[in-house]
């Protein structure tokens, strides 16, 4: 069966769809920075503090899921050869629902408002579910099922699990039906969100983009074939073990012991990625790769922290332990990679759409800027430096909140303002060039 439609570019959504997601992410980052700047050390007391949960969701939903959803809607036609049905409507609606839902969720954590909570859960539920359905249709229609597509499918299912668990936890349904142990279920929600949705998507995307951006060798075949499915199954087993432990059918240590088998999969991914990047043919400095490298080291660092925490009870009982894991995985791995990816995706999409228009108009008088003219290396490098500083301050704030928390907030805020500015400059450059091309088309029609 010949699959020709999949090579078509017409199926890519209009640029305004992914851009709205990308532009919203640093705004959530900005609010997260502001929250940290104002409330400082109180956010670093325990992972269970409502405001800390709010801050976590500002980043996971507002920044990470935001960019990941926008990028998936955009990339499915290109990477998987399968467009998302009704992508314009789905994109607009998902963006609106997730943005407002995430905003309300955070405010409900902070203010304790029941109305905001109920509203946010319904909006997020609708937004993520719509996203899931649309993307699932596209992913099921894929004819050439690559390893990336497999990982994407599993990641999207993990996203749905995360949502369902989040809704159950947030609505208080569980305690009403007599579920005494909520804490382990929060860990399951976290596990599916961080290791499943973010982790598996990251792994799947890496198979395509790491060799592509740096001209590195491919990931080993065995890894591409088995890693994502094995990790997904391992998470399913872990969830069942957690449930069994909650109902006291087995000891609490069994799911933990199982996790010791799962974790090396992620560590292997990080090590192989770093190793491939070392073997890259393209040697010139690259900002996206630097962001990516921080992400990989953060995965390794967080794994080490987790292992120590489960060997030593002293570490496990300190509130800093979970906060350190949170900063390492969510900011260190998640935000770093997402931030770095934006520096490739946004300029490339801008160039790509404009160049297509230019070619179809046969217009050689309007010049399309190249990728680095949308976002200059210098601007990206400045933001990178500020971001790295904010990450170090966040780690420092975990150990000495009263010294570093406010400062970490300030620098994280600054980093997101700079990211926002860089993205706005790229988009306005897109807009002016597009206008010039459009007016050329009008003139030549006369």
């Amino acid at each position: 069966m010949l699959n020709t439609a999949s090579l078509s570019l017409d199926q890519a959504p209009p640029i305004s769809i992914p851009f709205r997601f990308f532009l919203t992410a640093p705004l959530f980052g900005l609010v997260a920075g502001l929250l940290l700047l104002v409330y400082g050390p109180t956010l670093f007391l325990t992972r269970w503090a409502p405001m800390t949960l709010g801050l976590t969701h500002l980043i996971t939903l507002g920044m990470l899921a935001m960019v990941m959803c926008g990028a998936l809607l955009q990339m499915l036609p290109v990477l998987a050869g399968s467009p998302v049905p009704a992508v314009v409507m789905v994109g607009r609606l998902c963006h609106l629902l997730i943005t407002v839902g995430a905003g309300l969720l955070v405010s409900s954590f902070i203010t304790g408002s029941g109305i905001a909570n109920a509203l946010s859960l319904s909006l997020l539920g609708a937004g993520v579910f719509l996203f899931f359905i649309a993307v699932a249709v596209a992913l099921l229609r894929v004819k050439q099922v690559t390893h990336t597509v497999t990982a994407m499918r599993l990641a999207v299912i993990a996203f749905l699990f995360t949502l369902v668990l989040g809704l159950l936890l947030g609505s208080g349904v569980l305690s009403k039906v007599g579920f005494g142990h909520i804490a382990p279920l929060v860990d399951v929600h976290l596990g599916w969100g961080v290791l499943g949705w973010i982790g598996l998507l990251l792994i799947g995307i890496s198979y395509q983009v790491v060799p592509m951006f740096q001209v590195t060798p491919e990931y080993p075949m065995l890894m591409r074939r088995f890693l994502a499915p094995v990790l997904f199954m391992a998470l399913v087993v872990w969830t069942l073990l957690m449930l069994a432990a909650i109902f006291s059918l087995i000891g609490d240590f069994i799911p933990t012991l199982w996790m010791f088998l799962v974790l090396p999969g992620f560590m292997l991914y990080a090590v192989v990625t770093l190793r491939l990047q070392q073997q890259r043919k393209r040697r010139i400095p690259d900002i996206t790769m630097k962001f990516w490298r921080i992400g990989m080291f953060s995965i390794l660092f967080s794994s080490a922290v987790w292992i120590i925490g489960n060997v030593s009870t002293v570490v496990a009982n300190s509130p800093q332990y979970h906060l350190l894991l949170g900063v390492g995985l969510i900011a260190g791995a998640g935000v770093s990679v997402v931030n770095g990816m934006l520096y490739k995706i946004v300029p490339f999409l801008s160039w790509f759409h404009l160049q297509n228009r230019q070619l179809s108009l046969m217009c050689m008088t309007v010049q399309v800027p190249n990728m680095k003219e949308f976002i200059s290396d210098k601007a990206a490098r400045y933001q990178y430096n500020v971001y790295v500083a904010s990450l170090f301050l966040l780690f420092a704030a975990v150990t000495k909140p009263e010294w570093f928390a406010h400062m970490a907030g300030l620098v994280f805020l600054l980093s997101n303002i700079m990211l926002f500015r860089n993205l706005v400059i790229a988009m306005s450059r897109y807009y002016t060039t597009n206008q010039a091309l459009l007016s050329y088309a009008v003139d030549s029609d006369k």
Binding site: N3, Q144, T146, M212, I284, M371, K372
Partner: protein, 144 residues
């Protein structure tokens, strides 16, 4: 038996190497060697395009009866890349490294995603369609 997929993918890697070396030399300000490497990259790429446009694509179209399908898309992307190559060449002539590096970044993205589509979809399709004649087609392309 050598497949079209293997041979053509190897040729992609060959072009990648010239590309990366030229980019690195130019980023270090070594225009003399950078120019030579860029020329090698341009020639290797142009040779690859003409193998496809001159032999592989027409034969594929003949056998499948599709002229507006994937091969048309690949030709369009060749046009995009030829335009970038011309701009890069102008940047080399003017020894404008900033412009060259902006263009090469763009080129890299276009080239890699183009290669990915060919290696994952088009080439396996040609191997399937040509079956026993694949090797003869490869021989013909090497003559170019």
């Amino acid at each position: 038996m050598t497949t079209i997929t293997e041979t053509m993918a190897r040729d992609h890697r060959h072009c990648d190497e010239f590309f990366a070396e030229a980019e690195e030399l130019i980023s270090q300000g070594d225009w003399e060697q950078g120019r030579a490497k860029f020329n090698e990259f341009r020639d290797a790429t142009e040779n690859h395009f003409s193998m496809e446009e001159g032999i592989l694509f027409p034969k594929f179209e003949q056998r499948t009866g599709q002229t507006m399908g994937p091969t048309q898309m690949m030709r369009m992307e060749h046009t995009q890349m030829r335009q970038l190559l011309a701009d890069m060449e102008a940047a080399v002539t003017h020894e404008d490294d900033e412009r060259y590096l902006g263009l090469s970044e763009t080129m890299m993205m276009v080239m890699q995603q183009h290669n990915m589509k060919e290696e994952q979809m088009l080439y396996p399709m040609t191997d399937q369609v040509f079956a026993g004649d694949a090797e003869a087609t490869l021989q013909e392309m090497k003559m170019l």
